[in-house]
């Protein structure tokens, strides 16, 4: 695990910490450009913070620079596949919740996704409302985890105010 990335993530984390109820930031990853465009537009209109990426590599690049809570990730993409991307995300950004989106209802790929850390999977074609409901649920779960981490960090920082505590918490997660 690269400490620099953790630090970057944590900075964003703590930067947002005090703003009370956080606004959910979603990233949509799919090779279908029009889907990204339309869905992005719609979700933006509905008031969500949304980022889109058409490839796994692009997604990872953008995650390095942007705060994202939930990634909705297509399983089948040219280049880096959804599963590979998922593993990269989970390695570099363990706190990001990933929902797999698949055109193929193969239980194998879904199970594989869940095993690699995805929180849920959705079957195409999915309605935008369903998509958002799943995303909200994932975000809520993330919030709970964040709270746990925060309290743990607070306790630990009393004794040993270093970043190690956070590292511990992250590892536990």
């Amino acid at each position: 695990m690269k400490p620099s990335l953790i630090h970057k993530g944590l900075r964003k984390f703590f930067g947002e910490r005090d703003s009370g109820m956080e606004k959910m930031k979603i990233m949509l990853v799919d090779d279908e450009e029009r889907f990204l465009l339309t869905t992005g537009k719609l979700l933006a209109r509905k008031g969500f913070d949304i980022l889109t990426a058409s490839r796994g590599e692009q997604c990872l690049e953008m995650l390095a620079d942007n705060l994202v809570h939930v990634v909705i990730l297509d399983v089948k993409m040219p280049g880096m596949s959804g599963l590979e991307t998922l593993q990269e995300i989970k390695r570099d950004h363990p706190l990001i919740e990933v929902i797999m989106l698949t055109g193929h209802a193969t239980v194998e790929s879904a199970v594989e996704g869940l095993r690699s850390g995805a929180i849920d999977y959705l079957m195409k074609p999915v309605s935008v409302d369903d998509l958002m409901a799943k995303a909200e649920a994932a975000f809520a779960r993330r919030q709970i985890i964040e709270d746990k981490i925060r309290s743990a960090r607070t306790r630990k920082s009393m004794d040993q105010p270093t970043d190690d505590a956070l590292n511990e918490a992250v590892k536990k997660e």
Partner: protein, 577 residues
């Protein structure tokens, strides 16, 4: 296919007939040939033996009689024998030796009958010019042919001459032929065998049994009347032994005889022993008939057996071929379904992506319209309603497409089923219970006959449920289509089947399936339901599931009678599942 079988039939039949028939025929032919030779040889040998024995007997008889005469003439003198008392005494002694002697006479060298003892009064007669007298005077001995003479019974004479004191005198005896007549007549072989004597001129010296008078010429004499040493054997009519075969087929030709002849040594008489050929070779003929009978019966048996065996073999082959074809068809169908499944899955996947785009577009449109409505920027209520209806319709149609692609993906998916032991006598009633309400509403009686002691099958419960519900629902639909809501019967049976399998049958008395539809029943996208009511994937999915479990599905149906679906699954713990 039929042509192959008929050619195969010919090959099998011909080899099955020829292989046993050739040795069979060989055995018969060889057997016949050797038995023929053996019987012929034996018959001819026996004939030769008879002829030889009888010749010896007759020769011995003649020799003894001649010896008697020679003994007398050498021991007695002309003077003593010329005395009637002495002649009588000698004759009596002679008769004691052989009763064949009839009389005895003494002649001087001029042929005068000096003394005679016998039944006639011949004394004083002169025989000088008789040929026999001349011969005996010349050769010293004479044995005459048989003649009747004045005595009117067959006899012959033996005359011997002796030179005594420059005088030659002759002793003559008449000998009744009955003794060697009997000898010759005793020759009896089979029904037609006989013996007789002829002299060098071809005149009968004894009466043949088959007719012909004593001393009359033998009509056939030229056949055998030639000089030869020992015994000659032949067949009359010049046929030789080659004619034998034809004689066997046309028996009863009585003019064909098997002859054995030999010349006597004492006298140029020919002893002839003959037997009608069909009589002589009668045993051969019966052997031939027996062989023929065996050949016909054996040949018939071989041919019938070959026909029967060939029929069985061909029938078995046809059965195996049919089974093989069935198996191949099943394999092809399974392969085709698997390919179709993969293709359909890829297709569905590709469709899902644009569907997703459409859905997003629709959601965006919906949202924009809602916004516009709220901002009162659309005022035409009617158009707005139509627009909203249209958008709702897009949702409905996307949903429909999604259902199809989901079904296709389910059909084509290669997911790992969760296999476990499923006890059908517990599991089946649970599934039946799921449709019992629906069946009751439709007026359908549900009968279940499930064997209690059924071994478990190894299957995924969810998949099995899917298959069974599909079958039950199809059955209920078929019944409803034919009977409305009365008189329906749905029967579900489960029992052990051969080959470590469990057989589930689902029988309905519904509308039935036509023969042309039954061929396509498991094909994906085949449906008889109205457009939009069925994807036509149900049964093909069922088929795929059962196939993946190592089982198979079959259907039999009679239009307007009902349908039975069979599901066979391997018993848990058996290989091949």
């Amino acid at each position: 296919m039929d042509l192959t079988y008929s050619r195969m039939r010919k090959t099998i039949l011909s080899s099955m007939i020829l292989v046993p028939l050739i040795p069979f025929v060989l055995v018969i032919v060889v057997g016949y040939f050797y038995s023929k030779i053996s019987i012929e040889t034996r018959t001819i040998e026996s004939l030769q033996r008879i002829v030889e024995d009888h010749r010896q007997m007759i020769d011995t008889f003649l020799r003894e009689r001649r010896a008697n005469m020679e003994f007398i003439i050498s021991t007695e003198s002309f003077e003593t024998l010329s005395r009637p008392r002495q002649l009588e005494f000698v004759f009596d002694n002679l008769q004691r030796t052989s009763s064949a002697f009839v009389d005895l006479g003494v002649f001087d060298q001029d042929g005068l009958h000096v003394a005679y003892h016998g039944p006639h009064q011949l004394t004083g007669k002169i025989y000088r010019d008789e040929p026999w007298f001349a011969e005996v005077m010349q050769k010293g001995v004479h044995i005459s042919d048989v003649f009747l003479g004045f005595r009117a019974y067959p006899h012959f004479i033996i005359a011997v001459a002796r030179k005594e004191n420059d005088r030659t005198w002759v002793l003559r005896a008449t000998i009744d032929t009955y003794i060697f007549d009997n000898m010759v007549k005793r020759v009896r072989i089979g029904k037609t065998g006989e013996g007789f004597l002829i002299n060098a001129g071809g005149y009968f010296q004894t009466e043949p049994r088959s007719g012909g008078k004593l001393l009359e010429p033998d009509a056939n004499s030229d056949l055998y009347l030639k000089r030869h040493e020992g015994i000659e054997t032949f067949i009359s009519n010049g046929g030789g032994f080659g004619r034998l075969l034809s004689d066997l087929f046309f028996p009863g030709d009585e003019s064909v005889f098997l002859y054995a002849t030999t010349w006597l040594k004492e006298k140029p008489w020919l002893l002839v022993v003959r037997q009608e050929k069909h009589d002589a070779f009668g045993k051969l003929r019966s052997a031939m008939y027996l062989i023929g009978l065996i050949a016909v019966l054996g040949g018939t048996a071989i041919i019938l057996l070959a026909l029967d065996q060939t029929r069985r073999i061909i029938r078995r082959l046809q059965k195996i071929d049919a089974e093989k074809t069935g198996l191949e068809n099943q394999l092809i169908r399974a392969t085709r379904l698997a390919e179709l499944g993969q293709m359909a899955a890829g297709f569905a996947h590709e469709i899902n992506n644009p569907l997703q785009v459409i859905r997003s577009e629709q959601a965006l449109m919906d949202y924009i319209i809602k916004e516009l409505k709220e901002k009162k920027e659309i005022t035409n209520e009617e158009s707005l309603a139509e627009l909203e209806d249209s958008i709702r319709q897009i949702v409905v149609q996307i949903e429909r497409c999604a259902n199809i692609t989901q079904a296709i993906l389910k059909f084509g998916r290669k997911s790992e089923p969760v296999l476990e032991n499923v006890f059908l006598h517990e599991f089946l009633p649970e599934i039946i219970a799921m449709v019992s309400n629906k069946a009751r509403v439709q007026g359908i009686a549900v009968n279940q006959v499930i064997a209690e002691s059924l071994p478990p099958v190894f299957a995924d419960k969810g998949q099995l449920q899917q298959v069974l519900l599909n079958l039950f629902n199809n059955a209920i639909d078929a019944i409803a289509e034919r009977r409305g809501s009365r008189g329906g019967v749905l029967e579900i049976k489960a029992g052990a089947d051969e080959g470590h399998q469990v057989k589930i049958s689902v029988t309905d008395n519904g509308i039935g399936i036509s023969p042309e539809n039954i061929k396509k029943i498991f094909s994906p996208f085949f449906t008889t339901k109205p457009l939009g009511k069925g994807t036509g994937l149900g049964l093909s999915v069922c088929y795929g599931i059962i196939d993946s479990l190592g089982g198979n599905m079959e259907v039999t149906s009679q239009k307007n009678e009902g349908t039975t679906f069979f599901v066979r699954l391997p018993v848990a713990g058996q290989s091949g599942s």
